[in-house]
């Protein structure tokens, strides 16, 4: 079985797949890749199933060596990676020879870069998924971010190397947006017309304390008009909840499963991957769309993901 040796882990590198759905009644959120589109594309490049486990790097990548050689691809944000000193093109599969070293640098834009290898990262699944839930220390590689000296096993491999690349037009269409499209939240009518107007016209800055659980936003506070008594209820991925201080928080992949703040809006499914590429100090806006539009945008995105023009060989 071939392995990846972690020579330096980067800032926050974890094993992620597409998450574990179905354990909400136990308080377990799905976790999984923060930018699932990039993970799925990376897996396609290296001939894996879309949901195979890869490495998610955050803001600063790691250094990895491959004693046995393998096939890999980097997707997501460009972290300026090199293989034995030569520039590695992102969004393209490459063959790594025995003993080569991959150095993944700091993010040039965006927040997360994915390393997918043919065969996938093999870890013991927890509740059917390889994804790491950092807060509870569950899943992934020992339930934690990677450290120097860790050795990751690769799943079984088959077939020969074929160079694949994601079509530039497809990449453009899937590129992260800084205007997030949202549908109204379950408590959007708790906010006055003027609060809603300021929410949809305002610019929000991603706060330093943002992580996979949630993104804290800074900007003009959104005030609630009816000070209704909120009873803790289930929350969905991408929910934009508003704290008592009026600051929005976007609940993300490692979200709490229930919450007691009113939700003004919810990021649409087709834009969730954009949230995964936001970094502290990025400026974003919100644009309201209908449920029907949100659905058509998701249909469109999935049609693109399934189209023959997506991957060039």
């Amino acid at each position: 079985m071939s392995v990846i040796q972690v020579q330096s882990p980067g800032l926050l590198t974890t094993v992620q797949d597409l998450g574990r759905e179905g354990f909400g009644p136990l308080g377990i959120s799905p976790s999984g890749a923060a930018d699932p589109i990039s993970l799925r594309l990376g897996n396609r490049l290296v001939a894996n199933a879309e949901g195979a486990a890869g490495l998610e790097m955050t803001l600063l990548g790691g250094t990895f060596s491959f004693p046995d050689g393998l096939i890999l691809a980097l997707t997501g944000s460009d972290f300026g990676a090199t293989l034995d000193g030569s520039v590695v093109d992102p969004w393209t599969s490459i063959e790594v020879r025995t003993g080569q070293t991959l150095r993944v640098g700091p993010a040039r834009s965006g927040a997360r870069c994915y390393l997918c290898v043919h065969g996938g990262i093999a870890v013991k699944p927890f509740l059917g998924s390889a994804s790491t839930h950092i807060l509870s220390g569950l899943g992934g590689f020992e339930g934690r971010a990677l450290r120097k000296g860790d050795v990751l096993h690769i799943g079984s491999v088959s077939g020969t190397f074929r160079k694949r690349t994601i079509a530039p037009q497809a990449r453009d269409r899937l590129a992260p947006r800084q205007t997030l499209r949202v549908t109204p939240g379950p408590q959007s009518n708790w906010f006055s017309e003027s609060s809603l107007r300021s929410f949809y016209s305002g610019i929000y800055r991603v706060g330093e304390q943002s992580n996979r659980m949630g993104l804290r936003l800074e900007g003009a506070p959104v005030t609630q008009s009816s000070g209704g008594e909120m009873i803790t209820e289930g929350v969905s991925l991408g929910a934009v909840q508003v704290t008592h201080a009026g600051l929005p928080i976007i609940l993300f992949v490692e979200q709490q499963t229930t919450g007691g703040y009113p939700k003004i809006a919810n990021v649409i499914s087709a834009d969730i991957h954009c949230v995964g590429q936001l970094r502290p100090r990025d400026e974003i806006r919100f644009e309201q769309v209908t449920l029907e539009t949100a659905r058509s945008l998701l249909v469109e995105q999935e049609e693109l993901m399934a189209s023959a023009e997506l991957i060039l060989e």
Binding site: L135, G234, S236, A239
Partner: protein, 228 residues
């Protein structure tokens, strides 16, 4: 009883069913019955369920099912709730060492409530709590109701990290933090019990609907239990 259920879309792929707008044992019963029915007879396309005090959020695949279609199916499920048998609640005892470094807010709670710390402990341990649901993080059970005399607001500034096993109170709720997480509840004690263990059947010590009591233990008993 369930005629009054209200449906509300929460996102492009989720729908919430509300059983009233108050925390009551009746609405809790309905949440559990609907959850049970959905576990026994899953709706194709529904990916996740988030039960809470008087609501249940369903996350679903909008490419397979629309909000309206899901609501129609759920209305049929609601018509059958009264026939759903719930398992007998289990009785769970959670040992707690109160006060000191384990319960840094015990004295303040006593001051706010105008009673002694010993009375806070006595009151907290005097009640059998219902586990309304598990939420927030894996294995965190929302337990109610706390005696009125102990009802206090959350901390103005939540702690960045609460030690695992910490027993907190907020409003009329109490609960045990299974992991080191941020937390805004006032901490009055700590249990040596591992509240969530992935290697154990059921994983969480407390399940929805269980009846929970807290038993005061000494610091020495805490240490002994922790090592056992």
């Amino acid at each position: 009883m369930t005629d009054g259920a209200r449906f509300q879309s929460a996102s492009d792929q989720s729908l919430v069913v509300y059983f009233g707008e108050k925390i009551t044992l009746d609405s809790h019963q309905h949440v559990r019955q609907l959850l049970r029915l959905l576990e026994l007879e899953p709706i194709p396309g529904v990916r996740n369920l988030h039960p809470a005090y008087c609501s249940l959020l369903l996350n679903f695949d909008v490419l397979k099912l629309s909000h309206d279609e899901l609501e129609t199916i759920l209305r049929r499920y609601l018509g059958r709730l009264e026939d759903v048998c719930l398992p007998e609640p289990r009785r769970i005892e959670i040992p707690v060492s109160y006060g000191g470094e384990f319960g840094p807010d015990l004295d303040e709670v006593a001051t706010i409530c105008g009673i002694t710390p010993a009375q806070v402990i006595g009151l907290h341990a005097s009640v059998t709590y219902v586990a309304y649901f598990l939420g927030f993080v894996p294995g965190f059970a929302y337990l109610g109701e706390l005696p009125d005399a102990l009802a206090t607001s959350r901390l103005a500034t939540p702690r960045r990290s609460v030690p695992p096993g910490s027993v907190g109170i907020a409003g009329k709720q109490t609960g045990v933090y299974p992991f080191a997480t941020p937390g805004g509840w006032r901490l009055i004690g700590r249990t040596p019990m591992a509240m969530f263990r992935p290697d154990r059947s059921g994983m969480s010590v407390v399940s929805i609907g269980d009846l929970v009591r807290f038993t005061p233990v000494s610091r020495a008993q805490f240490v002994a239990l922790e090592n056992s």
